[in-house]
């Protein structure tokens, strides 16, 4: 039998015949990955100084910038609360900063509705740097020049790491839209 278009039966998201996307995967995966990212304090890395980037927050930014509208604007409330349970920050710091970050992205999006790699990175950097500084400020720790020096590597690492996290999120997004549900 002669086929007209090889793409008509399969594409990178799986078979196009008899299969649909799973609602649970499509809407649950962003939440699940961000919550998992908030569990980084349980990694067996015992660091004498803050070095790891805030992975949960970076994942939130990446999902928000990749898929506007997928995470509701109030997503910062539950996600921040979960992050607070493990991050060592005082309770409420994640709720406040996550919610503010989502609102700020919303405002930036109104002003610059187009998208490209550099604008996304710039937006993320413009949010990550104040986030880490504000988190250090309200962590309850006394701030001195030494502490500001101590968070500098973390800020740099987070900003540099963001494109990689965004790439991982893009891969997860493909997984999210795989047609895994069988329909009869």
């Amino acid at each position: 039998m002669e086929r007209l278009n090889p793409q008509s039966r399969r594409d990178p998201y799986g078979s196009r015949i008899n299969r649909r996307e799973s609602t649970l995967l499509a809407y649950g995966l962003p939440w699940a990955t961000i919550l998992l990212g908030s569990l980084t304090p349980w990694l067996p890395i015992i660091s004498p100084a803050p070095v790891l980037p805030p992975v949960g927050f970076l994942l939130l930014l990446a999902w928000r910038l990749l898929r506007p509208g997928l995470l509701p604007p109030w997503a910062g409330l539950p996600l921040g609360l979960f992050d607070d349970l493990y991050s060592g920050q005082p309770m409420g710091s994640g709720v406040l900063l996550f919610s503010l970050a989502l609102i700020v992205i919303e405002l930036i999006e109104f002003r610059f509705p187009w998208r490209n790699f550099w604008l996304d990175w710039l937006t993320a950097a413009g949010i990550i740097v104040p986030y880490i500084m504000a988190a250090a400020l309200i962590s309850g720790a006394e701030l001195s020049p030494v502490q500001l020096m101590a968070i500098a590597p973390q800020i740099l690492l987070s900003v540099v790491l963001f494109p990689i996290i965004a790439r991982i999120v893009a891969m997860l997004d493909r997984l999210r839209l795989m047609r895994v549900r069988r329909i009869d």
Binding site: T40, I46, A49, P90, V95
Partner: protein, 299 residues
């Protein structure tokens, strides 16, 4: 790429309301977060229960991770076995490092004994450890330096207990859950430990700087007697920490003390020991006294 069109709600009344509600809830999230933050900054113990429950729930992940860490170390050891000379050298260096710390501690204990014997005919004995636990995680992305250990109330751990490793003091228990606890590491900026020089009675406070080092502040100001390389041990003042546990080694002299490096780097620590509070009665008396002293007398 522009945002998808369905976000612009157009003339659909329901969609408009939905978007509007989303923003209102987001704004409420900010307000709620600010309120929570204010409460937890003013009364830091308010959410302890919630947090310890959460860390109990997540502790198994940390324990698996910690076991994985030791497993990886074993594999690396096997590979390093091919370069036997190098690994043996590293092992001996490690042993020498521990021995140096032990020597300093022994010296401190000797001096402590001599002083105690001179004052009264009392002997101090090593307390039995409350629990042996794994260091299973740390807040590696926050400016606060807190660690998690795999022992909690079920193992007898209570807030305030000192946590040590074979290399020296790690910190103290801040919150104890059922099977896991949060530990305030020495490098946290809220941590303060009374210390003295291992060889004599130069007393100081060791404050965390949250960049991995400690700041030593002398109690008796005057000519700074500290020299780089001096080892500091806990002095036992305050009744929390048993005297003679190694804490830090001075590396850089400042005007009112020194900058010191931790002797027991938590990053290199796997198994830790939770010790009982050294002088619980003294500590209670001290706290009761400060509580009595705080209200203004009426007459």
């Amino acid at each position: 790429m522009t945002p998808p069109a369905h976000r612009r709600s157009g003339v659909n009344r329901k969609a408009q309301l939905g978007v509007f509600t989303g923003y209102v809830v987001a704004g409420l999230g900010v307000v709620f977060g600010a309120a929570l933050l204010t409460i937890s900054l003013l009364r830091p113990a308010t959410f302890n229960g919630l947090r310890t429950m959460a860390s109990d729930a997540a502790a198994p992940i940390g324990i698996v991770g910690a076991e994985g860490r030791t497993g990886v170390k074993d594999v690396l050891d096997a590979i390093a076995g091919y370069y036997r000379a190098g690994s043996r050298n590293a092992q001996l260096e490690e042993e020498a490092r521990i021995a140096r710390v032990k020597l300093a501690e022994a010296e401190a204990i000797k001096q402590e004994n001599a002083r105690l014997k001179a004052v009264l005919a009392l002997t101090t004995e090593d307390p039995r450890p409350v629990a042996v636990a794994r260091l299973i995680g740390s807040t590696s992305s926050s400016a606060r330096r807190l660690g998690y250990i795999s022992a909690g109330r079920n193992h007898g751990v209570r807030p305030g207990m000192p946590v040590t490793s074979p290399m020296g003091l790690i910190g103290r228990v801040l919150e104890a859950g059922a099977v896991s606890s949060r530990v305030l590491l020495l490098t946290d900026s809220e941590s303060m430990v009374p210390v003295r020089r291992a060889t004599d009675n130069v007393v100081a406070f060791a404050e965390g700087r949250s960049d991995g080092s400690l700041r030593l502040r002398l109690v008796n100001l005057g000519i700074n007697p500290i020299k780089p390389g001096d080892v500091f041990v806990t002095s036992g003042a305050g009744g929390l920490f048993r005297p003679g546990t190694a804490v830090a080694i001075a590396t850089e002299i400042t005007r009112d003390g020194a900058i010191a490096q931790l002797l027991s780097n938590p990053a290199a620590t796997d198994v830790v020991v939770v010790e009982p509070i050294w002088q619980p009665e003294a500590l209670e008396a001290l706290q009761a006294h400060s509580l009595d002293a705080s209200p203004v007398p009426t007459d």
